[in-house]
Amino acid sequence: MTLDILIFWIVLSLNYVLLATGLTLTVSIMRIVNLAHGNFYMAGAYVFLVFFYQAKLPYGIALLLSILCVGGLGMLTEAKLYRPLGGRIEPSIVCMSGVLLVLEGIAILIFGPDIRGLPRLLTGTITIGKTVVNIERISVAALALLIITGLFYFLKYTKLGKSIRATAQDREAASLMGINANLISSLSMGIGTALAVIAGIQITAVYHLSPFVGIGALGTSILIITLGGMGSIIGALIAAFIIGFCDSFGAAIIGRYHHLLSFGTVMLILLLRPLGLLGIPFIEVRGKGK
């Protein structure tokens, strides 16, 4: 019983990690929560559906193409819609709500509001001790682990990753050092969206896909990045495991009210640490650049 929940906890948390790192990466550069993140996740899954079923491409190529398509869309959105607003919170959030609604509307218009299933990468079960685990859940977790390690390596050791971190720290100073901050913004949005797409294809294959799954995903990832501190990837990693704990062990103990438990945990930690576990204090941009 406990082993069951333990495995469920780890798998669920790794899914959450996959969901939330993309968002926290864009937050660290743009200083604004991308409300359309969840709907890019949904859009990625639908684009994958088209490539896989309509165009009958093999799984890997369909995955790559949908990442490129939706990632490109994310970069375009950043460059054409978010950047001209100059990083002010209110108009950018309104603009993101607009993008969210547009994506949702297009998905409903093309695919209809019904629930669909996605193809699964692997099927079958494996047995650990006495517990039976779906292999696809394990594969999602393994993929999440792989991607997180890759992302950490990219951010820590490559030149591009270093310039992303520099821009996240101080945009102006980074520009003075010859980093093209606008390009970095687009790029980080692209990477964030691509991570959302991977998460979307993997997670909706385990659960289900409808045009409305984006909001739920956004809610979970927002809860995680708020707890971990906005813009901190390691914080998101820790927070994903805490929220995953509430949603697995909490659900096993108090049943259907586990959402209240995770919300309560976040509220408690925010009371003690208003910037989250590892949050970086943002310089607020308000009423500037009008």
């Binding site: 937050v27 200083r31 604004i32 929560v33 409300l35 819609l81 001209p84 607003l85 919170i89 209110e90 108009p91 959030i93 309104v94 603009c95 709500s97 607009g98 993008v99 969210l100 609604l101 547009v102 994506l103 949702e104 509307g105 297009i106 998905a107 409903i108 218009l109 209809g112 509001p113 045009p211 409305f212 909001i215 739920g216 956004l218 809610g219 927002i222 809860l223 990045i225 708020t226 906005m230 259907r256 009210y257 959402h259 209240l260 919300f263 976040v266 509220m267 925010l270 009371l271 208003p274 910037l275 989250g276 943002f282 607020e284 009423g287």
Partner: protein
């Protein structure tokens, strides 16, 4: 917004007169549109008052939801009369807003925004998990209120009167707030919080005040809406409803506390009513409207009249 005071009174009286006789000549569907207009106007005004103190709320659906559910429960399980249930819904909303507000208003900017979003989602999910509140199926069968004199609630007449009355109270309350000392303090806090603090204004008090006020009126209209529609379910109160509250305010213009949402919700309700047959078109068009308003008319539709007047001079 510099609008002639006389013009404001004329428009207000015209709206009132229109509502007083609307049930005699308007088709049923347009009476419904009028009622929805009043509902969304109140929700939009409620959202805007939080923006006035400098915070961007993404969780107005939570208050609509709490108000609606508490009124429905009071009427269905405790046989409360309608009017008491209405007040109960608003009161419960204010109490919850007070408790939650004291905690979350300590957060600023992005953190407040995302926490209100999460709060609304949690309220919805918790209600969907509670069997007492009808779980995911919701509650229905609230009895319509008794007639008052000649006003009947079995037709739309009574509802029109009720909602215009609620709208009138809300507008009057917030119009008074905007003109008073408190309103000026709100806009100080909203525009330059550090300066306001250096003048010795105690932030939290006013922020919580604005938050609770917004919750009270949003809860009131949520309660009335649940009884008017006759049913309430958790699917209704997704993030889209929170968005609608901000859409109406932003379309109309955030410069004026009352007139902006009134204008914006007029546009929204008409779109909403006629696009409901094409699933998806509503979200698409609303999204495009929002983006274009932010880029081309950042002060909302209400700034059009000023531009028009300026051109004539």
């Amino acid at each position: 917004m510099k609008m002639n005071r006389l013009a404001q009174w004329v428009i207000a009286i015209l709206i009132l007169g229109f509502f007083a006789f609307a049930h005699t000549f308007l088709p049923n569907r347009w009476q419904h549109i009028c009622i929805m207009w009043a509902i969304w106007s109140i929700a939009g005004i409620g959202w805007l008052v939080i923006l006035r103190v400098g915070e961007f709320s993404c969780g107005q659906a939570a208050f609509l939801c709490i108000g609606g559910y508490s009124a429905s429960v009071a009427m269905l399980k405790f046989d409360c009369p309608f009017w008491l249930a209405l007040l109960l819904g608003a009161a419960l909303c204010s109490i919850i807003a007070l408790i939650v507000g004291v905690v979350i208003l300590r957060l600023r900017g992005l953190y407040f925004l995302v926490i209100t979003f999460v709060f609304a989602e949690i309220v919805r999910l918790t209600i969907a998990a509670t069997d007492y509140l009808g779980a995911s199926e919701g509650l229905w069968g609230m009895s319509i209120p008794k007639n008052i004199g000649l006003i009947t609630f079995s037709t739309k007449q009574g509802w029109l009167y009720l909602f215009i009355f609620l709208l009138m109270i809300t507008c009057f309350a917030f119009w008074r707030v905007e003109k008073s000392r408190i309103g000026r303090i709100y806009s100080y806090i909203g525009t330059s919080p550090d300066l306001a603090q250096s003048f010795g204004i105690y932030f939290m008090k006013y922020k919580v005040q604005a938050f609770v006020m917004s919750a009270f009126f949003t809860g009131l209209v949520g309660a009335a809406m649940a009884v008017y529609l006759g049913a309430i379910g958790p699917e209704g109160f997704t993030f889209y409803y929170s968005l609608v509250a901000q859409i109406v305010a932003i379309l109309g213009g955030v410069g004026s506390l009352v007139w902006g949402p009134l204008l914006g919700s007029f546009l929204y309700t008409i779109f909403d009513e006629y696009l409901v047959y094409v699933p998806g078109a509503r979200s698409l068009i609303m999204g495009m409207l929002l983006i274009s308003v932010i880029f081309f008319l950042p002060e909302g539709l209400i700034s059009l009249q000023r531009k028009f007047l300026k051109r004539r001079e």
